[in-house]
Each structure stands twice: as C-alpha cells, then as structure tokens.
Subunit: 246 residues, 2 copies
DNA sequence: CAGTGGTCTAGACCACACG
DNA sequence: GTGTGGTCTAGACCACTGA
C-alpha cells in the first residue's frame, strides 16, 4: 500500500500538470476553488503551491490571483569579476529595468561604522533599488557609501541605477577589488515586500565590501536575488593542499 | 494605532526572547503548550518559528522536541579554490565527521550522460554522503563519476569521504578546474530527510563539473549546504567593461 | 462592490522517539 | 504508552485589487 504519501505530494503532481497545461501569464483558478476541486483544504493546497513559487513557476498576487510564469531569460554572471547587473544583462542582450530607486542620507550606526571603517555617526548615502526583468522584481540591491565618496547630488542625472558603474565611469576613487560573501536566506518581511514575493521565500544574498586601492571600503552592499532569474557561477582551480587520508 | 502588525510578528519578538534566555541544547516547551502560553494557535506559532529555524537558531525533531542551537563554528571557504570540506575544515582546525555514506553503481540516464559527456547507459558511481558538524548534518554531497575514473572498490579503504581528496592523492587523472554554479533552493523532501531539516528550508546548492586536463568531466557533483554553518566568499576583481549611462 | 490571496483558529490524526 | 513535532481540515476574517 503505497498510500503512505502525503496529500501535498499528490497535489504537487496534479499542480505540476495544471501549471504545465496553463499558458504563461494565465491565471490559475482561485485557491478556494482549486482546493475544492482537488479535495483538500486551502491550507494544504497552499503548502503544495509553495514549492512551485520557490521555483518561480507561479506567482501569487494578493487581490488578483495566482499566475503561471513563463520561462524567462536568465542573467548569467561569473563571480570572478564584479560588474553591475546592468552590465551583466547588457552583455547578453537582456533587457532589464530599474524599479523603485530610493536614496537616503543616513548616519553610520555602530554596525555600518565597522563595516565601512568610518566613525560612528559619519554621514553615509544609502542607495536602494529594485531590478525588474520580465516586468517583475528579480533583485533588491542596497549600497551604502561614505558621503565623501558619493553624495546624493552625484546621483541626480544620468544615473543608470548602478553605483558601481557610476564609480567606474567617474574613475575615482580607483577601485581595487570586492570581497563578497554568499548566502542562502529566507526573505524577511522587508525583502518580500520589495520583491513582491512571500515571506520566507528562498533568496540568494550577497554581502560585498568594495575596496579602493588605498584600502578604504568605498561601498558596502547587500544584494538579494530571486532564484531562477540568475545563474551565478565560478571557475575554481583545484587546490594543492589536501587533507591526508587517515 | 500600530496594532496593524500580525500576530506572528509579535510572536517572533517573544520567541527571540525565549530562545535567547534558553541555554543552547535545552528544549523549548512543546508546541501546544507554547501556543497556549502565547495565546495563538499552533499553526501561527509554527509559522513564527520558521524564521528561527531558517537561521539555524532552533532545531525541531519529530518525536523529541524543539531545541535551541548554540552558536557554532563556521566553515569558511573561498570559492576560487576547489577543495573538499574536509580540507577546508582542517585548515581552520574545525572538527567535522562523516555521517551516512552511500555508494551505488548506476547507469547514466540521458541527463547524466549529457552532464558527464558519456554515453547513455554507461556505468557510473554515485557517492552520497552527509557531513556532520556539531553532531548534526550540515551538508549533503553527491558525486557522480564515470566508472573508468573511479570504481566502488577504490573507495574501500582509507577513504576520508571526499572523492576530490582521493583523486588528488592518487594523482590521476590530472585535474584542471571545476566549473561551479551557485543557487539558493528550498529543500526537497529527499534533501530535508538527509539533513534532518524541514521541507522547504533554505539551502545553498552547488552544481559542479570537475574537468581533467584532457577536458573530460570526471566528477559531476551536487552539494547542499545548510546556511549558517558555512561562509562562502569570493574576491572579485573590478570589471573593466561598463555599460554606458544613458 | 465582489473576488482574490494572506493570515488565523481550534480542533484532529499521524509518524516518530523514548522509556 | 506517552509525548513530541508533521500534517491536515473547515471554517473565519483581513488586506488588497479592480470593476
């Protein structure tokens, strides 16, 4: 008796069928209706839908409905080189656009002072933006810089959204490298709001420290990427040091 | 009136307090009891607990209870160099051990044949293992190799668990580099079982192709890492090509 | 306004670990 | 067996969208 499976496992098979048979962009039946059709409670249906949401196959929008997402272009990016999303997308002829852009002047709290190597209370600029691909938010990027590197006024005109591109074009300060940490995280309420996803959804998170040639941190960045829309890769050379076998 | 918050937000604050006041390793009150104490339903409590699970602060075990996890050591690893977890951990004097090790002989299906560049039906070896740190599963690693590279017999003795270390020690074939893709994913049922976590929990997933100097793929690997136990980082040089500002 | 997804409740039964 | 977390139900109300 192989009925040992849970309803959500059976549901996922039925849902996969349904999603495949539904044209991209079309709406699925409403949750109460689907739950009834499939003979489960709404909670169970939502549980089963979770997986498809995480893979980016469907998208739920409060007040409107649940939609099937078409297979969309993927932004491919090697990690060896730091380049802006705009540059990455451009190099493969992919069109993206900038959604919300917010620029604030803030003061360094103790955490930021430590990350940027400045005094607590120093003036900083916080640039926060959402990247759209296929007309939906796919990345949420936060840059924080000392105000002596970049002032809000610098961002007024001809700003494509990327702080990195702006610094590179300006040519000063001379940029050395970026140290970037990579993590998988669950979306917080704040991030899920910005990206129009569900709280707890899976995100790729980068934390980056951009160094100038004089060693100063010129940009502390926190970036969130929706899985499925990006393909990050790295070429790793084979290590020479080996732990000896016991 | 700032009561616009949801119960789970208030709950998360109360839970954070509770977790902090509880000694690492200790058990929290049972879910029904906690839910009653905090005045919510069990479903809501579990929803609020999700976040802490994702951060690795608590661990739920069916039939036993929910436990507070002590801050544990972190395996730090640069992505530029491919080295085994054993070697990474060893270089920072961190003790890890190998849990389940399973070795199977399989035949290449069409997917695997494509990834490894072999004929469909070719004999392959699948090495599957769980890494333990702090006595809990923290990584789930799958290596798949053509049988002419590695046979199950090669793994019989003096095997520390790492296929990479074994190949390096043997010295043949000569390894060139690894191409690795990085993704955030939700844990499938299979992965959640292996790592004793919840279905849907956040995981970092690596897919790697290890190349020999003759260009052959000698190892196709799929790796899952529990966030919070690893710190992956990469040093990125600054790109020279810049998308022009409009 | 009606209809959607987001959240919540108060139960229930199950699979599992342990004595 | 007892107690735990894992799953499920059948409701309910809310916040949001669009007509």
């Amino acid at each position: 008796m192989a009925d040992n499976i849970h309803p959500y496992q059976r549901l996922q098979i039925e849902l996969a069928d349904l999603i495949e048979k539904t044209a991209p962009g079309d709406r699925l039946p409403s949750e109460p209706l689907l739950a009834q059709q499939m003979g489960v409670s709404r909670a169970t249906l939502r549980e089963a839908m979770r997986a498809f949401e995480g893979q980016g196959l469907i998208r739920r929008r409060q007040g409107i409905g649940t939609f099937v997402v078409g297979r969309t272009s993927v932004i491919e990016s090697g990690l060896e080189v730091l380049q802006s999303i705009e540059t990455s997308a451009d190099s493969i002829n992919l069109k993206i656009s900038m959604g919300d852009l917010r620029i604030h002047q803030i003061k360094a709290d103790s955490d930021l002072a430590k990350e940027l190597g400045v005094d607590e209370g120093s003036p900083l600029v916080r640039v926060e933006r959402v990247i759209l691909g296929d007309n939906r938010p796919v990345a949420y990027l936060i840059d924080i810089l000392p105000e002596n590197i970049l002032t809000a006024a610098d961002l007024d005109e001809g700003f494509n959204g990327s702080v990195l591109d702006l610094l590179l074009q300006r040519g000063s300060p001379n940029l050395l490298k970026s140290y970037t940490e990579i993590n998988a995280v669950a979306a917080s309420s704040e991030v899920s709001r910005a990206l129009e996803i569900q709280r707890g959804d899976v995100m790729e998170k980068f934390i980056g420290w951009l160094y100038a040639q004089d060693g100063q941190v010129v940009d502390y960045s926190i970036s969130y990427f929706l899985p499925g829309y990006f393909r990050f890769h790295v070429v790793r050379r084979v290590g020479s040091v080996v732990k000896s076998q016991k």
